[in-house]
């Protein structure tokens, strides 16, 4: 694939904006701007991580019980999906820097597909919660939070939390563990906010794809690819922390 030829006219690169002196200054400002924005995102999620820390400390048994009932396979697969997508995003930046359009577009497309895969798996998980009446409070007014009753005839065992598969009663929560709802609002708030950021990221990737296909980016000007890459990696990092904190609590009780 040919690299995009830049047309140099009297005003410099066509993508140079009028208030910047040169492309280098524009690129530096764009990168710095995205890093400053990521700082705001760190503080934004930080508030929820603080709430998580406090309530997990206050309700350890409820958190362990509820976490154990999340699907660890789906969670781990999603983690891997995001890691691969970060890899393809980094490659997309690389190919843009080196002017290889087809691999660039391919990698951007892969990143987008992987991101949508993540969202699809998340939708499956949310649907499971809906089926199990685990949407917190009255967020869904006709399906209030109801961890379900203990199965008939089964003794309550705090140290062996049973995971049942099957379509009817999927994952009964040990209903004697109080405040399990606390875990679930935190789960939905944090993963929901994360998913919202993924959706925005998917939109940004679509923009990158469209403009890449139009040949807008080249080795001299690819700042949007870079800074959207930074955003995408950040969203990946949030999930890297969310996964163990939400999915991996209390797993060791299974073999305790």
């Amino acid at each position: 694939m040919t690299t995009h030829a830049t047309t140099q006219d009297a005003h410099g690169h066509p993508a140079l904006q009028h208030h910047f002196e040169n492309m280098e200054q524009q690129r530096e400002a764009g990168t710095l701007g995205m890093w400053v924005f990521l700082v705001t995102e760190i503080m934004f999620f930080g508030g929820m991580f603080l709430a998580y820390t406090l309530y997990r400390n206050q309700y350890p048994a409820a958190f362990a019980s509820a976490s154990n009932h999340l699907d660890i396979t789906l969670g781990a697969v999603n983690t891997a999906v995001l890691i691969v997508s970060s890899f393809t995003m980094a490659l997309a930046v690389y190919f843009t820097q080196t002017g290889k359009l087809r691999p660039q577009v391919l990698c951007l497309g892969l990143t987008l597909v992987l991101g949508l895969t993540f969202l699809g798996i998340k939708a499956v998980e949310y649907h499971d919660k809906y089926e199990d009446h685990l949407i917190p409070g009255r967020l869904i007014p006709w399906n209030p939070f109801n961890p379900g009753v203990q199965e008939e005839g089964q003794p309550v065992d705090h140290h062996k939390l049973h995971l049942l598969s099957g379509k009817t009663v999927k994952h009964p929560i040990d209903a004697t563990v109080k405040n399990v709802e606390m875990f679930y609002w935190i789960y939905f708030a944090m993963t929901g906010m994360h998913a919202l950021h993924m959706i925005i990221g998917a939109g940004l990737l679509m923009y990158l794809l469209i403009f890449s296909l139009r040949g807008r980016f080249d080795p001299e000007y690819h700042s949007p690819v870079e800074v959207i890459g930074l955003y995408w990696h950040f969203v990946d990092i949030v999930w890297i922390f969310l996964f163990p904190l939400l999915y991996l609590l209390g797993r060791h009780y299974l073999h305790g």
Partner: protein
Amino acid sequence: MSEHIVPVRIYFAIFAALLVGTALTVVAAFFDFPWRLNTVVALTIATVKATLVVLYFMHVRYSTRLVLVIIASALFWMAILFALTLSDYFTRGWLSTQTG
């Protein structure tokens, strides 16, 4: 262009390390460590993974010192939020006249 182009083999290496880290954290979750070590292990692995992403995928290893200062400031500010708030919660029980 003063930009540094990171070779693909480095991206591969980091990618592999991230997948290994994920597998590690899942396996470690099933072991019962004493005290709160489960959490420590999980957060350590997550921090290492995040650091790799920041340094290599986000090119911080090849960026200016200003970017490092920005990241450090964000982490420091989150630390302030945590430390001072937790200083309240963890010391509430110290005074015997205070309940809960």
